[in-house]
């Protein structure tokens, strides 16, 4: 086996173990940090596939922004230290594992058969090609993305905003 395959399998092994940790631990923040490690290992996988732009965007946006948002949400609402008993759902574990496993196999079958060993990028830096394609062939989805972001922004602000009529006097 080449060193490339060894490294890939090693990363995959770590990835599966951290992902399992995310769903089996009963401490919320431990789950969030295990998710951070899972995403970091996914970004290493993307690096091994020579798409460094996607790998670093994964770190920058997912790890750097989205999970920080999760952590803010947890800390502002209750920030429990230690195990959280209501996260342990023993009743439906087997059914949940069966459904998750079948979805996993279905997805992998569809993806592997769909791409079937096709090589997308043959030369050049991935970032430049991505930029070219994004703004020439896929202009319409690109502009739609800006609208989706705007909708998310306005939605989040509307939900979390304080209603002016309910502001009491001793708000510092």
């Amino acid at each position: 086996m080449e060193i490339f395959e060894i490294v890939t399998y090693f990363v995959l092994l770590l990835l599966v173990s951290t992902a399992v940790r995310v769903v089996t631990t009963s401490n919320v923040i431990h789950a969030a940090i295990s998710l951070v490690f899972t995403l970091a290992l996914t970004s290493v996988l993307f690096l091994l596939l020579s798409t460094e732009f996607v790998a670093l965007v994964l770190v920058l946006v997912y790890i750097g922004a989205v999970i920080v948002l999760f952590l803010f949400g947890i800390m502002i609402t209750r920030a429990p230290l230690g195990k959280n008993a209501e996260l342990d759902n023993d009743k439906n574990k087997k059914l949940g594992a069966a459904i998750a496993g079948s979805i996993f196999f279905l997805f992998s079958y569809i993806l592997v058969n769909g791409f079937d060993g096709e090589v997308i990028i043959t030369s050049g830096s991935s970032t430049e090609l991505l930029g070219e394609i994004l703004l020439s062939r896929f202009v319409f989805p690109f502009e739609l993305v800006s609208f989706v972001l705007l909708a998310a922004l306005i939605g989040g602000i509307t939900l979390a905003r304080k209603d002016e009529a309910l502001i009491d006097e001793d708000q510092v």
């Binding site: 750097g64 920080v68 970032t127």
Partner: protein
Amino acid sequence: MSIELIISLVKANIVLAVLLTNTILLIWFERKVVAGMQSRVGPDRAGPFGILQTLADAIKLLLKEQILPSKADRAMYLLAPLIALVPSFLIFMIIPLGPDITVEWQNALYTIPLVGADLNVGVLYFLALSSIAVYSVVLAGWSSGSKYPLLGGVRASAQMISYEAAMGLALVPVILYSGSLSLVDIVNSQSGNLSSSIPILNTIVSFIPKWNIFPQFVAFGIFFIAAVAEVNRAPFDLVEAEQELVGGFHTEYSGFRFAMFFLAEYINMFNMCAITATFFLGGWLGPTFEGILPPIFSVIMPIIWLGVKTFLLLFVFVWIRATLPRLRYDQLMELGWKRMIPLSLVWLILSAIVLGLREFGLPWS
């Protein structure tokens, strides 16, 4: 072992050694300069001129007792200083220290780029690692199991993420001008002097080097201020100020773990200054005096120029700390969101329009 692996390991060692030595000198330098600006002497007992003061402090902190609070979450408490310190080593890897050097070894010519890792996406790598630094603050604040670190941690991380957005958007005009995300290309695109299509202006500006600060002074200002806020330095250091939230997110840390936060802040400060020098002040570019000095200097002069520019920016950092008062938290957040981000977006649009006019001519011709 292949030659590339050996080069990688040697570069890794050099980077770590350079960073740690620079940090020790930087802490001493800051204490001396702040003391001078406050009309006092600063450290002068440990070693000549107090240079070994930092080492003495580090050894003292190594020997102090580590108090792990009973309510703390042990795993995250131990992880947070690691997340603070290790990414700061990694940021220094992408800074180019000089042009490629060609050595002849075993009858083959090797071109070694004087940069730890010449990534195609260096700018994104830098932004991604700055984003990871937020985690150390958040985890430290939460895992200490007490109110003040939690509040301090949430506020510090909100401050850091606000200025990260401004930092990322302020870098886009620089990328527009150089056309690449790799830092080596950004430095190489700043070589030469400015030129203008108007002949009279051309004779005046052709003495000015083509560093990115001259066309992009607004982006430089935004990036520099965002860098100061990102490293949690004064005047943006409300969240670790002793008078406010006790010690902020590192209240419950003692001993070497506290030293790790401290070291991480100074290493980050050094990294930010070096990155600002690379993006805006032309990195290692500068006259090499080739005819006058012996040829070994043509390898060392670029490193010296980078060091001089970084040192100047570090002096400005320390100067700002000694001079300006601390910003209140709402003033800080207002500055970040209401002034810097709209300004950076407007400046981005203006730079793109100017570049478009220069490259494509007028749209109706």
